[in-house]
C-alpha cells in the first residue's frame, strides 16, 4: 500500500496531470480516425518522451494508450466505419441507433461503457500483477522460454487457415532479432561487416516501418483515404444512460470479464474481445432479435469488453515483460527507452514504478470520461481531419522519432526496408502479429533457451521435466495442432 501512496505523490504534480490529460486527448483524436490504430499515436508522440523524466513519460504514454482505445467508437457510431479493429462490433447497433436519430444516446452509452471497462480492468491488473510477478520470479530460464514460446505459437495458431504463413512471419521476426551481437556468446551474426548492423535493428525502426510506413504507402497505392465524409446528425449534450446501465448490469459484468480475459491472452486483445462479447451478449439475451436494430445492449457489450482488454493486456506486459499485442509492444518499447524494463524484477525492485503505471492509467480513464462527456459535440469533428495533411505529418514525425533515438541515417533507410517488408507481407497475406511478437520476444527466447540448456548440462529434455515449463509447452504444441485436428475431423 505504501508504494501506491508513493506513486500517488509522485504522480500528483501539475505537469504529470497535464501530460496525462494531453496524452489522453491526442490518443483519443488519433484513435478516432479510421485507419490509425491506437499504437500509431504512441509512435508519433514517442520522441517527445525521450528527454522527459520517467514519471512524466509514463503519464503521457498511459494517457495515449488509454485515450487511443477510447476514441474508436466515434467513427463506428457516426459513420458505421470503426475507428480501429476494436470497435467493429459497435457498428452493428451503434450505427443503427444513429440512423434512428438517437446518435447522442449511442455516444453517451459508449462513453460510459468505456469507463466501466477501463477503470475496473486497471484496478484488477493492479491487484493481479504483484501476484503473477511473485510467481514469475520463481521461474527459471526453462519456464521463461516456454512462456514466450507459447505466446508466439498461440498467436500463430490464430492465423486461421494460413498457419504456414503465420510460421513464416514468426520465423522472419525471429531471424531479424538474430542480426547483431548474439546473446551470451556475443558472436556477431549476419552483420556483413557493417558497424550499424552490429547492434541489431532498433525496435522502433522495425515497428515504424512495419506499421506506419506500410499503412501510409498502401493507403496511397489503393486510394484508401478513409472516411472523411460528412455526417448530418446533430449531437446533443451528454445524456447519462442510468436506465440502460441498470438493465444491462449482467451484460456489463460479463463483457468486462470477457474483455479482461481475452486482453490477457497473447495476441488477442480488444480486436477479438469486442466481437466475442457482442456475440455472447446476443446469444444469452432474452431478446436477441433486437440486436442489430440499435439496442443499447449491443453497444455496451463491445465497448465495455474492448476497454476491459486494456487492463488485461497490461498484466502480462508489466508482470512478465511479455506484451500481448502490437499496442502493448509499442508501450513496452517506449518504457524501455526510459530505462524501465517491465517484468517480475521491476515489480519486486521498484513497485512504485509499477503502481505509477497503473495510477497514470486510472487517471487517464477518468480524463477520458471527462473529455468524452464535455466534448461529446466537438469530438465527432475529428473525423473531418483531412488525410492529405495527416499522413505526410505522421510519416515525417515517425521518421524523426527514429532519428532522434538512433541519431543515424542508416536507421531511416532501414525504416524504408521494413516498409517494403511490411508491404510484401501484406501482399503475401502473411499475418503481422506473429512477426512482431517473435521479433519482440526473440532475444528472450534465445537467451533463456541457451541458459536453460547450459544450466541443465546440455540436457534438452529439461524443458519437459519441469512441470510448469512442460504444461506451457503442451499448450503451445496443442494450440498449433488443435486447428489442424479440427480441420481433419470436420472433413
Amino acid at each position: 500500500m505504501n508504494t501506491v501512496l508513493l506513486a500517488l505523490t509522485s504522480f500528483f504534480q501539475p505537469i504529470n496531470l497535464l501530460l496525462t490529460f494531453g496524452g489522453c486527448l491526442i490518443g483519443m483524436v488519433l484513435g478516432a480516425i479510421p485507419g490509425l490504430a491506437g499504437g500509431m499515436a504512441i509512435t508519433v508522440i514517442l520522441p517527445l518522451t525521450f528527454t522527459m523524466k520517467p514519471d512524466m513519460a509514463m503519464s503521457l504514454l498511459m494517457g495515449i494508450y488509454v485515450g487511443g482505445d477510447s476514441g474508436g467508437y466515434i467513427g463506428s457510431i457516426l459513420l458505421g466505419i470503426p475507428g480501429t479493429a476494436a470497435n467493429v462490433a459497435t457498428v452493428y447497433d451503434g450505427y443503427e441507433m444513429t440512423k434512428k436519430g438517437k446518435v447522442t444516446k449511442a455516444l453517451s452509452i459508449a462513453t460510459v461503457s468505456n469507463f466501466l471497462g477501463t477503470l475496473p480492468s486497471l484496478l484488477a491488473a493492479m491487484l493481479l500483477c504483484p501476484v503473477i510477478a511473485s510467481l514469475a520470479v520463481k521461474m527459471g530460464p526453462w519456464e521463461y522460454f516456454s512462456l514466450a514460446f507459447m505466446a508466439i505459437t498461440l498467436v500463430v495458431s490464430l492465423s486461421q487457415g494460413k498457419m504456414l504463413k503465420g510460421f513464416i512471419g514468426a520465423a522472419i521476426g525471429l531471424f531479424i532479432t538474430q542480426i547483431g551481437y548474439a546473446p551470451i556468446s556475443a558472436t556477431r551474426r549476419f552483420t556483413f561487416g557493417s558497424r550499424y548492423l552490429s547492434g541489431g535493428f532498433n525496435m522502433l525502426t522495425v515497428l515504424i516501418g512495419i506499421f506506419a510506413g506500410t499503412m501510409i504507402m498502401l493507403s496511397y497505392a489503393n486510394r484508401d483515404k478513409g472516411a472523411t465524409m460528412e455526417f448530418s446528425q446533430k449531437v446533443e449534450k451528454f445524456q447519462f444512460p442510468g436506465k440502460e446501465i441498470m438493465e444491462n448490469a449482467v451484460n456489463i459484468v460479463r463483457s468486462f470479464l470477457i474483455g479482461l480475459f481475452i486482453g490477457f491472452l497473447p495476441g488477442m486483445g480488444p480486436a477479438l474481445s469486442n466481437v466475442v462479447s457482442y456475440s455472447t451478449a446476443k446469444n444469452s439475451s432474452k431478446h436477441p432479435e433486437k440486436f442489430g436494430t440499435g439496442c443499447a445492449d449491443g453497444i455496451f457489450a463491445p465497448e465495455v469488453a474492448n476497454n476491459a482488454s486494456i487492463g488485461g493486456a497490461i498484466i502480462p506486459m508489466v508482470s512478465l515483460g511479455i506484451p500481448g499485442d502490437s499496442t502493448t509492444v509499442l508501450l513496452l518499447s517506449a518504457l524501455t527507452i526510459q530505462g524501465i524494463s517491465p517484468g517480475p524484477l521491476l515489480q519486486k525492485m521498484q513497485p512504485e514504478v509499477v503502481d505509477m503505471i497503473f495510477i497514470a492509467g486510472i487517471f487517464s480513464a477518468i480524463f477520458a470520461l471527462l473529455i468524452q462527456i464535455v466534448g461529446i459535440r466537438i469530438l465527432p469533428n475529428v473525423l473531418k481531419i483531412p488525410y492529405h495533411f495527416l499522413y505526410p505529418a505522421i510519416l515525417v514525425l515517425s521518421f524523426m522519432g527514429v532519428y532522434a533515438s538512433t541519431t543515424n541515417m542508416f536507421s531511416i533507410y532501414s525504416i524504408l526496408g521494413f516498409t517494403a517488408l511490411g508491404i510484401w507481407m501484406t501482399w503475401a497475406d502473411i499475418p503481422v502479429t506473429p512477426f512482431i511478437l517473435s521479433f519482440v520476444l526473440g532475444t528472450t527466447l534465445e537467451t533463456n533457451f541457451r541458459n536453460a540448456i547450459s544450466y541443465a548440462g546440455g540436457d534438452w529434455t529439461s524443458f519437459f521435466r519441469r512441470p510448469v515449463s512442460c504444461i506451457l509447452l503442451i499448450i503451445a504444441i496443442g494450440s498449433v495442432l488443435m486447428p489442424l485436428i479440427r480441420k481433419k475431423t470436420q472433413k
Binding site: 504463413k165 514468426a170 556468446s185 499522413y391 547450459s454
Partner: protein
Amino acid sequence: MTKNRSTGLIALVLGVVIAVQAAQLPPSTMAGDIGPAVFPFISAGILILCGLGMLITGGVKEASIFTKESLVRLAKIFAVVLLYILAMSYLGFLIPTCAVLYVLSVMFAEEDHIAWWKILVFAIVLTIAIYLLFHNVLNLKLPTNQLF
C-alpha cells in the same frame, strides 16, 4: 506462378541463405553453451519447411491486393520517400522535409482540389514546428546539412 507459390519460394530461399550463413558461425565462447548458430538454424528450418509446404499446397490462384494502377502508385510514393531520405542525408532536415510534406500532401489530396498555397503553408508551418520542437524544446537531434 501463384502468389502462394512465390511466397513459399521466397521463404525457402531465405531459409537456405540463413542456414548457409549460420553454418559459418564460430562455436560459442562459453563452455556448455549450445552456440550462436542454433537459433538461426531454427529460423531457417521453419522457413524451409513452411516454404516447401506452400510450394506444394499453394497451387490455387488468389486475387492480388494490387492492380496495375496501384502498383504504379506504390512505386511512386516509395520513390518519393526514398528521395526524401537521400536528400536528407546530404541537405539535412529543413529543406527536404518541407518539400516532401508538400509533395506528399499534393499526392494524397489529388482530386480534392486543395489550393496549392494552403498545402505550402501546411508544409512550411509543420516543418518549422517540428524543427523548433525537436531542436529547441526537446533538445533532440535532427539530420544536419552535410554540404554547406
